[in-house]
C-alpha cells in the first residue's frame, strides 16, 4: 500500500510504499520481501511540554512550530511523518477544524514526505477534525488515524471521498483486527488502503503481547486470510517514551544506567522487536533512534546472505 501522492491533487515529492511480503519478517531466503519497512517521525501541533526531557532537548525550539519540526524530522531521516493533533483535545487547547487544517497544511507545505494524521484521541473531536483535514487535503493520500470500531464510518467516508487511506486500530487481538477490516471493506474502501495498528506495548510494558499478536496476524496473512494482510504500523515512540525508563533522568536506580543512552535504547529495542514480528511502519520520536532503526532495517534487508543458505544443507 502507498502513502502520499505526487499528482492528481497530491503535492508530495516522495511516497512510501510498504507491504507485499510473502514471508515472515526478513526471511528473504524463503519468500519475497520486496519493500523495506518505513520509519516515520512523530510530531505534534502544539508544544508537547510533558514529553521526556531527552526529546524536548533534541528537537529544541523547532518543536514549537509544526512546520519547522517537520523539516527537522525529515532532515533527521524520517521517511514520512505522523502529525498528532493534540491541540484539538478539549483539555489542551480545544482547537477547531480550521486550526487543525492549518497545522496539517503547514506541515505539507514544509516537507515533501507523506503524512499520517492522528486526531486528539477523543472520539467526537477526532471525527470533527479528521474529516475537515481529509477534505482540505483531497488527493494527498494522507493516512487518517485512528480508525476504530467506534468511528470507522466517519473516518472511512473521509478517506473514500478524498483519496486518502486509513489506519485501523484494534486492541491487540487478531479477531478484532479482522472484524474492523471487514467493517472497513464493507464500506467500500479497498483493503490496499488500510494500515493495521494492532496496538503497541512498549518494552517492559506489554511488548510481548504486541509481539505475539503481530506474529499471529502475519502467520494468518501468509495462510491466505485477506482480512489480516494489511501492512502493520506501530506507535513505538509514543509508547516507549511514556515510560519511566525514558522519562526520568534522576531518582532512578543506578543500575538503569545513563539516562540518554537508556532512553534511546528503550525506543530502539521496542522498534527492532516489533519489526521482527511484522511491523511495516514504525513511528519513532528520537532522531538517534530513527537513524539507528533505519540502519537496522537496511541491514536486515540487504546485509550478508549466508553462504549456508545456498548450499545443499541436510534439510534446508
Amino acid at each position: 500500500m502507498t502513502l502520499g501522492a505526487t499528482g492528481d491533487g497530491g503535492t508530495r515529492t516522495s511516497t512510501v510504499t510498504v507491504g507485499g511480503e510473502a514471508t515472515l519478517p526478513f526471511l528473504q531466503f524463503e519468500g519475497a520481501m520486496p519493500l523495506k519497512p518505513a520509519v516515520a517521525a512523530e510530531i505534534v501541533d502544539i508544544y508537547p511540554e510533558d514529553w521526556s526531557p531527552a526529546l524536548l532537548a533534541v528537537w529544541g525550539d523547532e518543536a514549537r512550530d509544526p512546520a519547522a519540526w517537520a523539516a527537522k524530522a525529515v532532515a533527521a531521516g524520517a521517511e514520512l511523518l505522523a502529525l498528532k493533533l493534540r491541540g484539538c483535545h478539549p483539555d489542551q487547547g480545544d482547537h477547531g477544524p480550521a486550526e487543525a487544517v492549518a497545522a496539517v497544511k503547514a506541515v505539507l507545505g514544509a516537507v515533501g514526505v507523506p503524512l499520517i494524521v492522528y486526531g486528539p484521541g477523543v472520539a467526537d473531536k477526532d471525527n470533527e477534525v479528521l474529516v475537515a483535514v481529509a477534505e482540505a487535503t483531497k488527493g494527498e493520500r494522507i493516512a487518517l488515524a485512528n480508525c476504530t470500531d467506534k468511528n470507522y464510518r466517519t473516518i472511512v467516508a473521509g478517506a473514500l471521498g478524498n483519496g486518502h487511506v486509513v489506519v485501523g486500530q484494534t486492541p491487540i487481538d487478531v479477531n478484532l483486527a479482522k472484524q474492523l477490516n471487514i467493517l472497513i471493506s464493507d464500506m467500500g474502501l479497498s483493503l490496499d488502503r488500510v494500515l493495521l495498528d494492532p496496538t503497541t506495548g512498549a518494552l517492559g510494558y506489554g511488548i510481548e503481547y504486541s509481539y505475539s499478536v503481530m506474529e499471529r496476524l502475519r502467520l494468518a496473512a501468509l495462510m491466505g486470510d485477506s482480512m489480516t494482510q494489511q501492512p502493520m504500523i506501530c506507535t513505538v515512540g509514543e509508547e516507549s517514551w511514556r515510560q519511566k525508563e525514558s522519562r526520568s533522568p534522576d531518582g532512578v536506580p543506578p543500575e538503569w544506567g545513563d539516562f540518554a543512552t537508556r532512553a534511546v535504547i528503550w525506543e530502539i529495542a521496542t522498534a527492532v522487536t516489533l519489526l521482527q514480528s511484522g511491523a511495516d511502519i514504525v513511528v519513532l520520536r528520537h532522531p538517534a533512534a530513527i537513524d539507528r532503526v533505519k540502519q537496522a532495517i537496511d541491514e536486515l534487508m540487504t546485509g550478508a546472505v549466508p553462504e549456508a543458505l545456498a548450499v545443499s544443507s541436510p534439510a534446508v
Binding site: 509481539y211 526520568s248 536506580p253 537496522a296 536486515l300 540487504t302 548450499v311
Partner: protein, 447 residues
C-alpha cells in the same frame, strides 16, 4: 520428537505374546505412546528398539548447563517456534565478554558479574562471562582466567580461544566449574573434543554454514561430547536471523538431532546502540546465549527487560496477591490508592509511592492479573469492583479520612465510585505512575 503408537509398534516383536499384560503388541505400543506404561514390561525388546525410543524421547533441542552451583544456567529444551504456541522456557543467557590482555580485565568482569537490577519484584542479573584469549598466549589466558575466577566466584564462564593449548591451560584452573569451551572448529575439533570429554564441559562448535555445523556436530558427538552449543558465526542481522530461524526449525520440525542445540550469538558492535540492535534481534529470535561487549547498565537493563518479556508464559500474566498493602509504615492520615493485581502495574505504582517517601495504603483489586486499562475495558475493574474491594479490605477502620485515589486512566469512574461508596471522596490520580510522587506532594491532604 515423540514417536506415535504405530511407529513404536513397528519396533516391537509383533508376536502378541501378552506377557506385557496387554492383549497385543499394538495395544502395548499405543499405551506406551501415551506414556501409560514402561518399555521394560516387554521382555523381548531389542537393544536397537531401546536406543531408538530413548532417542525419540529426548528433547529436540538439548538442554545444556554452563557453570556449577547456584549461578549455573541452563539453555535449550525449547519446543516451539513462536511463543504464542506455548511458551519459551529457558531464557536467553546474557553474558559479557572480557579479554585476557585487557588491563581492566578484573574490574570489567566484576562489574558485569555483579550487575543486578530489580524489576517487577524480581532481582534480575546477567548470567556470566566470556573470557577471550585475545593475547594469543596460553599463559596470559590461564592467568586471566584465574584472576577472573577469583574475583567473580561462581560466575559461569565461557573460555574463548581457537587454540586447544590455551583452553587446556585454562581448564587446568577452572575445569571443574563446567565452563563452556568456545570453540571447536574444522581445524581443531579433535583436541577440543578431547578436552571437553576429559573435563566434562560443554563445547561450542563454530562453522559458517549449516553443513559445516552438522559435520562438526557429528564429529564431536562421535568423539563422545554430548553437550553442545552451536555458533553459526554470523556477520550481522540478516544472516543471524536467517540462520537462527533455520536452526530452530530444523531441530523442531525436521527433528535434525545434529543441530538440535542452543545457539550462541555475539552481539558486539562499536556503538552501544548498534549492539542493542543485534542483541535485541537475537533475544527475540532464537539465540540461547547472547554475548555483549559493552559494560554498560544502560544496555543491560533494556535487554534484561526484553528477555523477561519474551520469556514470560503468554497464558498467565505475572500477578500479585490482591489485598491491602502497606508501602512504608502508613498511619491513619496516610493516602489510600487503588490499583490492579497485574504485577507490572502493582510494582510500577508501589515503586513510585515508595520513592515519594510518603507512606501509603495501596489496595490491590483482583482484576485477573490485568493492567488498569485492560481490566477496565474487560469489565473487571469497574466502580462496583472498586467499591467491593474497599469494603472487603476493612481499610476504612485504619483511616482517619475517607479519600480514595484512583488511577488517572479510569477518571471516568469517579462519579460511579462516589455513588457506590457513599461518604467517600474519590480523587483522580495521575495517569502515569511516574507522576504519583509530585501528585502526593502537591494534591494530597487528609483533611
Amino acid at each position: 520428537m515423540a514417536l506415535s503408537g504405530l511407529q513404536i509398534y513397528k519396533l516391537l516383536p509383533q508376536t502378541n505374546c501378552k506377557e506385557c499384560g496387554f492383549p497385543t503388541c499394538l495395544a502395548f505400543a499405543m499405551k506406551l505412546a501415551q506414556k501409560g506404561t514402561e518399555l521394560a514390561k516387554c521382555p523381548y525388546v531389542t537393544d536397537e528398539t531401546r536406543v531408538a525410543l530413548d532417542a525419540a524421547a529426548a528433547p529436540p533441542i538439548r538442554l545444556v548447563t554452563v557453570g556449577t552451583g547456584e549461578r549455573a544456567f541452563a539453555v535449550g529444551n525449547e519446543t516451539v517456534l513462536f511463543r504464542h504456541e506455548k511458551t519459551f522456557v529457558h531464557q536467553t543467557a546474557l553474558l559479557v565478554r572480557v579479554h585476557d590482555d585487557d588491563a581492566d580485565l578484573v574490574e570489567a568482569a566484576k562489574l558485569a558479574a555483579g550487575y543486578a537490577v530489580e524489576r517487577v519484584g524480581m532481582t534480575l542479573t546477567l548470567d556470566g562471562l566470556v573470557i577471550e584469549n585475545r593475547s594469543g598466549a596460553a599463559a596470559t589466558f590461564a592467568k586471566a582466567v584465574a584472576a577472573v575466577h577469583e574475583a567473580c566466584p561462581g560466575a559461569p564462564l565461557v573460555l574463548k580461544s581457537d587454540d586447544p593449548a590455551a583452553i587446556e591451560g585454562a581448564l587446568g584452573v577452572v575445569g571443574a566449574e563446567r565452563p563452556l569451551i568456545h570453540a571447536a572448529t574444522a581445524a581443531n575439533w579433535q583436541a577440543m573434543a578431547a578436552l571437553a570429554t576429559k573435563h566434562t564441559c560443554p563445547l561450542a562448535i563454530r562453522a559458517d554454514s549449516l553443513d559445516g555445523l552438522a559435520e562438526l556436530s557429528a564429529q564431536v558427538t562421535g568423539a563422545g561430547v554430548e553437550d553442545l552449543v552451536v555458533d553459526p558465526a554470523t556477520q550481522g542481522l540478516r544472516d543471524g536471523l536467517a540462520l537462527a530461524t533455520l536452526l530452530r526449525r530444523l531441530a523442531l520440525k525436521k527433528n535434525l538431532r545434529a543441530l538440535g542445540y542452543p545457539i550462541i550469538a555475539f552481539a558486539g558492535r562499536e556503538a552501544v546502540e548498534g549492539e542493542a540492535v543485534l542483541a535485541t534481534a537475537a533475544i527475540a529470535k532464537y539465540a540461547s546465549i547472547v554475548v555483549l561487549d559493552h559494560i554498560d547498565p544502560a544496555l543491560f537493563y533494556p535487554l534484561i527487560t526484553l528477555r523477561q518479556n519474551i520469556y514470560t508464559d503468554p497464558q498467565k500474566p505475572i500477578q500479585v496477591e490482591p489485598k491491602l498493602y502497606q508501602v512504608g509504615v502508613p498511619t491513619a492520615d496516610s493516602p489510600l490508592l487503588i490499583t490492579t493485581n497485574f504485577s507490572l502495574t502493582y510494582f510500577s505504582v508501589s515503586g513510585e509511592v515508595e520513592s515519594s517517601g510518603k507512606p501509603c495504603w495501596l489496595l490491590v483489586a483482583d482484576a485477573d492479573g490485568q493492567s488498569v486499562l485492560t481490566s477496565w475495558a474487560a469489565g473487571k475493574f469497574d466502580a462496583l469492583k472498586i467499591a467491593k474491594t474497599v469494603k472487603d479490605s476493612g481499610v476504612e477502620q485504619q483511616l482517619s479520612h475517607h479519600k480514595l485515589i484512583i488511577p488517572g486512566h479510569v477518571a471516568s469512574l469517579s462519579g460511579e465510585c462516589e455513588e457506590e461508596l457513599p461518604g467517600w471522596e474519590i480523587m483522580v490520580g495521575p495517569r502515569d505512575a511516574v507522576d504519583i510522587p509530585s501528585y502526593l506532594k502537591t494534591v494530597w491532604s487528609p483533611s
